[in-house]
């Protein structure tokens, strides 16, 4: 009996939501400093969950499926991350202050002067009203790295469908 290909939506939703929420929580989000580990993790977890579904339904799974589920996980990562970040901002009262952000960047000794200058130049050019432009930038980064996670997951959790057994006569 031929079984249908499992849906990529639920694994992508779980992978994106779990790591998107983690990426929005202060301190925990520092893991993203390790080459966007949380974003890559969202694609990797989604690929792992999808591979389990594929194993159950005896469907092939590899890099192609990994990329597909990874890119979707990246979308969910951005959506959930943004929502949770906004909620945390409401709870803690830490709303975005344009002037304060620039002052913080200027006074932060951990940001190299070259980087600080570049960030301030970009922030000033887009202005406080254009901060929403940063969301598509986050989305693009999430899509790239979550796809990388999905591709790695596709290679690690590869599923080769078993040959159908001869029906008993």
């Amino acid at each position: 009996m031929e079984r249908s290909t499992p849906s990529v939506w639920m694994p992508a939703l779980i992978g994106g939501a779990v790591f998107g929420v983690a990426g929005a929580i202060p301190i925990l989000n520092f893991l993203n400093c390790l080459c966007c580990a949380l974003v890559i993790g969202s694609g990797f977890l989604a690929a792992f969950l999808y591979s389990k579904e594929c194993r159950k339904t005896n469907t092939a799974f590899g890099g192609g499926g990994g990329a597909k589920v990874g890119v979707l996980a990246g979308v969910f990562y951005t959506v959930f991350g943004s929502i949770v970040q906004w909620i945390i901002g409401l709870i803690t009262g830490a709303t975005f202050d344009f002037e304060e952000a620039i002052a913080q960047i200027e006074s932060n000794p951990q940001i190299p002067p070259e980087t600080a200058d570049s960030i301030i130049r970009v922030l000033e050019s887009i202005g406080s009203g254009g901060m929403w432009l940063l969301l598509p930038v986050s989305l693009v980064i999430a899509l790239i790295f979550a796809t990388v996670g999905g591709l790695i997951g596709g290679a690690v959790f590869k599923v080769e469908p078993a040959a159908p057994s001869e029906p008993a006569l």
Binding site: C33, C35, C36, G63, P112, S118, I119, V137, A155
Partner: protein, 185 residues
């Protein structure tokens, strides 16, 4: 021409080569940006500053945790430098040895990633930190293995694109056969 026909030109090795090239370019920027900055040219410095900004979302860029060239820090920290250099090397090796290289199993991936995860954990939980060069050396094998696995995934993606393009081509070339099969089926 539909999108499937356009993909017909993409071979798994070609796709892998393209991704490896992108990774090498990205990695070259890590040491290339401080080199450009040291030239003293105003335009070059602005371009380099923007390039630093591009690396900002993927790394904390703390200067004393980064290697330096001519007194200017790399665009990412020593650990990320190791991961990216390893990743690019893994991708390049797999692209050059496509079809000939057999990559180690999952246990090796775990073994390669564990030291850098421990280093990261110890640094943040116990405040124990390795010197920059040691952090790079510890991260390199993890990057190499992850790059290798990424290469396997990319090649697999290329194969699935080729397969679909092949199916689309054969369906276009023999519509009558397909019709007969559908009627007969």
């Amino acid at each position: 021409m539909d999108h499937r026909t356009k993909r017909a030109g993409v071979t798994p090795r070609g796709l892998l080569m393209a991704v490896a090239l992108l990774a090498i370019l990205w990695t070259a920027g890590i040491g290339g940006v401080p080199f450009i900055e040291s030239s003293g040219d105003e335009t070059a410095a602005t371009t380099a500053g923007l390039a630093r900004l591009a690396y900002r979302p993927v790394c904390h860029q703390i200067p004393h945790r980064s290697l330096a060239l001519g007194g200017r820090p790399f665009t990412v920290c020593a650990r990320c430098t190791g991961l990216y250099f390893g990743g690019a090397a893994g991708l390049a090796l797999m692209a050059l040895g496509y079809g000939r290289v057999r990559f180690p199993g999952r246990l090796w991936l775990l073994l390669a990633v564990t030291p850098t995860v421990l280093d990261f954990g110890m640094g943040h939980l116990a405040g124990v930190s390795l010197p920059n060069l040691a952090r790079l050396a510890v991260a390199f094998p993890a990057g190499l293995m992850l790059g290798g696995y990424l290469a396997i995934g990319v090649a697999d993606l290329g194969k699935s694109w080729s397969r679909r393009a092949e199916e689309a081509r054969s369906a276009q070339s023999s519509p009558a056969t397909t019709d007969r099969l559908q009627v007969g089926g």
